[in-house]
């Protein structure tokens, strides 16, 4: 009876907690509930128990997502909240005014040489800004129907043709077999391909946990993004991966 003992909350309060857990408090109740919660922080534990009861009956068991997902989400959030990062200064700004006055009377050859150097610097500057700009990279996410929990991502810089390949949870293979990354091209693309329209891009080294992180150089076709039809991973004979005999275990979607 003693009111000071914080035992069972009253039925009114319990029903209100149920309403909160169900997400259906009306405006007046919301104000009252907030006041009660501030007055007695221990109510939070009651809310958690009520939530637990609802989920025991109606929610499936929790499943821990793969650990890379958290960092992917945090990175995506950072990109969204700082969209300015990808804007780069206009290229023309970096063209330095040539000192025509001083050059007057100089040989035409010197002018041409100077312009050529200037032009070269400009190109370097352009390349540098493109390399730093995240929006300039191409990302290929490979999916799988067959291997539970596996993921693979290829991020390509089309200017430098440097790429990173991140693979998780691909089952390690028996000796004599390797995973191979293929670039599959659109029909008629002006590149040398095998009979499956593919270019062998990299042989993967997957560790005992089925993970790999490799940097690689990709074929020039990535400079014409529209000619890349698919990116896929197959299992091949380690002695002759170029035969391309395996079906894709992971592939980008259409």
């Amino acid at each position: 009876m003693a009111r000071s003992i914080p035992s069972e909350p009253s039925e009114h309060l319990q029903l209100m907690i149920a309403g909160y857990v169900l997400g259906d408090l009306d405006a007046d109740e919301a104000i009252e509930f907030e006041r009660l919660l501030t007055a007695d922080p221990a109510l939070a534990a009651e809310v958690a128990q009520m939530q637990n009861a609802l989920e025991m009956a109606y929610a499936p068991a929790e499943v821990k997502p793969p650990s890379h997902l958290r960092s992917a989400i945090m990175a995506a959030q950072a990109m969204e909240t700082n969209p300015r990062r990808s804007s780069r200064p206009a290229v023309t700004r970096s063209v330095r005014r040539f000192p025509w006055n001083q050059a007057l009377g100089a040989a035409a050859a010197v002018v041409i040489a100077a312009l050529a150097i200037n032009n070269y610097q400009l190109r370097q500057a352009l390349q540098a800004t493109q390399t730093e700009t995240p929006s300039e990279t191409l990302t290929y996410v490979l999916q799988t129907e067959t291997v539970e929990d596996a993921s693979a991502t290829v991020v390509v810089n089309p200017v430098t043709l440097e790429a990173t390949l991140t693979v998780r949870n691909l089952p390690p293979l028996p000796p004599g077999q390797v995973y191979v990354l293929w670039t599959v091209l659109e029909q008629g693309a002006p590149f040398t391909v095998d009979d499956k329209s593919a270019i062998l891009t990299e042989v993967l080294n997957v560790d005992a946990q089925g993970n790999a992180f490799q940097t690689l150089i990709v074929p020039k076709v990535y400079r014409s993004e529209e000619l890349v039809s698919r990116v896929a991973i197959t299992v091949e004979d380690a002695a002759a991966p170029q035969r391309h005999e395996g079906a894709p275990v992971m592939i980008t979607s259409l």
């Binding site: 039925e11 319990q14 029903l15 149920a18 309403g19 909160y20 857990v21 169900l22 997400g23 259906d24 408090l25 919301a30 104000i31 509930f33 907030e34 939070a44 809310v47 128990q49 009520m50 939530q51 637990n52 009861a53 609802l54 989920e55 025991m56 009956a57 109606y58 929610a59 499936p60 068991a61 929790e62 499943v63 821990k64 997502p65 793969p66 997902l69 958290r70 992917a72 989400i73 945090m74 995506a76 959030q77 950072a78 969204e80 909240t81 996410v141 999916q143 799988t144 129907e145 539970e148 929990d149 596996a150 993921s151």
Partner: protein, 196 residues
């Protein structure tokens, strides 16, 4: 040095309630999202995976759901718990994805076979986890009236608002509200012994 700083702010956030952490997120504290993710990613991913049965799609949806917390202010922390909001949103988005996947598949199949016969491969969209429920939960649910069970299911599974439920079942709004709350309270009381 940067990580040390964000470590300590995450620590202070982690002692707060969901509603408080969510307010911090809305106020622009980016690390609040990490705290909410750590608390609820298992629920969101588990639900997404259950409905979609594909890890890549489940990851994709989980990412959408959490980024959505940053983008939209659809959740009102005064009216209800974040977990219920997340669960209802995840389930309904996952079902949308299965539907559009099925539509794409069946139109592809029709196109392939050259006629428009209906496919009967409807996935059980209304997935009930009956087989996975423990004996205790089944006993506890059996103590609820049918109407209470139906209303709880419509609210938590189908994401119907109370007024939508009232309309569909043709019963007064006040009755819907009372039955849902009494039903859940009953569940909690019966299950208390198993929730130590």
């Amino acid at each position: 040095m940067h990580s040390e700083q964000s470590g300590s702010t995450e620590e202070s956030l982690s002692s707060q309630t969901d509603a408080e952490v969510y307010q911090s997120l809305r106020a622009g504290r980016a690390e609040a999202l990490g705290v909410l993710y750590d608390r609820h990613a298992g629920l969101v991913y588990g639900l997404a995976f259950k409905v979609l049965s594909n890890p890549q799609e489940a990851e994709d949806l989980t990412q959408d759901i959490f980024l959505n917390l940053v983008r939209s202010s659809a959740y009102d922390p005064k009216r209800g718990s974040l977990r219920t909001f997340l669960a209802i949103l995840t389930r309904s988005r996952a079902i949308d994805r299965v539907r559009s996947r099925n539509t794409a598949l069946s139109s592809l199949e029709r196109w392939k076979s050259g006629n428009s016969q209906e496919t009967d491969s409807n996935t059980p969209l209304e997935y009930v986890f009956q087989g996975e429920r423990s004996e205790e939960v089944r006993i506890a649910l059996a103590q609820l009236s049918e109407s209470q069970q139906q209303i709880l299911k419509m609210a938590y599974y189908d994401g119907f608002s109370q007024s939508e439920i009232a309309e569909r079942l043709e019963i007064p709004l006040g009755t819907v509200k009372a039955r849902a709350r009494r039903g859940l309270l009953k569940l909690r009381q019966t299950l208390t012994n198993y929730m130590e």
